[in-house]
């Protein structure tokens, strides 16, 4: 019995990592999405544009660059699913949600910074994504991604 366990130790470790990844990964994702949706509602009043926008003279008091970023990692289970998906092709849902979370979190952090500075609007928002960490130079799989959102927060003159 002990021999058998020892022989299949690799398999046991692998399976427990997959299960651990599945449980904690999906819990973390659900929790994150709940928090994202809640904060998006709170910050709904602050408009963000990707266009430059023009302002009439005397309206603008100050304009500052605001940034927000987030590095999000994928879990072991999803990474495995993505590798399997590579064989068959098609939508890789695991990565879709990873990138979606990273971008929305980055935008939220940027909006929070703009709000704390008393901005009325954020113009010319840009998004940048980069692969970070050990797997960054490996084409086959992706470990964690960084999303950066930045834009110009415009603060109006008090009327």
């Amino acid at each position: 019995m002990a021999d058998l366990i020892l022989q299949s130790l690799d398999l046991i470790i692998f399976l427990s990592l997959v299960i651990l990844g599945y449980i904690s990964g999906s819990m973390a994702e659900k929790k994150h999405y709940r928090s994202i949706i809640q904060r998006e509602k709170e910050l709904l009043k602050l408009p963000v544009l990707t266009a430059e926008g023009s302002f009439r003279a005397g309206l603008v008091k100050e304009s500052v660059l605001v940034t927000g970023s987030a590095v999000i990692s994928i879990d072991y289970f999803k990474r495995l699913m993505a590798v399997l998906r590579n064989l068959f092709g098609g939508r890789v849902k695991a990565y879709e949600s990873l990138l979606d979370r990273a971008r929305r979190e980055a935008i939220l952090r940027m909006k929070a910074e703009a709000k704390s500075r008393g901005a009325a609007i954020v113009v010319n928002m840009r998004l940048e994504t980069a692969a970070i960490g050990k797997n960054a130079d490996r084409k086959r799989q992706l470990g964690s991604v960084e999303a950066v959102a930045y834009g110009t927060a415009v603060i109006y003159n008090p009327r």
Binding site: S69, S73, N124, A131, G133
Partner: protein, 104 residues
């Protein structure tokens, strides 16, 4: 120093252009953070250590760019862009560039 990523400074007029200014920094994180990130890679979720590190580095790149603009005699940098690249295992380059201008 006014920093914006639009073509102009809203509400102000550009009177002089000085050309491109840039700032960059290459950062690596310490072993402890790397180890924690390795664990987080298994269970998924945000890598807070990396987020902080990249945020700090981006600020430094921006500061270097602003310094360069100041030396030229500019009082604003417009059209700022950021780029991130992973140059080697465990190190990332943060790069910021923009156009130095003088506004009224």
């Amino acid at each position: 120093m006014i920093l914006t990523n639009v073509n102009s400074v809203p509400g102000k007029k550009i009177v002089e252009h000085f050309g491109i200014v840039q700032g960059s920094t290459v950062r690596a994180k310490h072993v402890g953070r790397d180890f924690m990130a390795g664990l987080k890679n298994l269970i998924g979720g945000e890598l807070k250590g990396y987020t902080e590190l990249l945020q700090e580095s981006r600020e430094e790149a921006t500061n270097r760019m602003a310094e360069q603009a100041e030396q030229m005699g500019a009082n604003a940098v417009v059209n700022i862009r950021y780029a991130t690249s992973s140059v080697a295992q465990g190190a990332a380059e943060l790069f910021a560039y923009g156009t130095a201008v003088r506004v009224e």
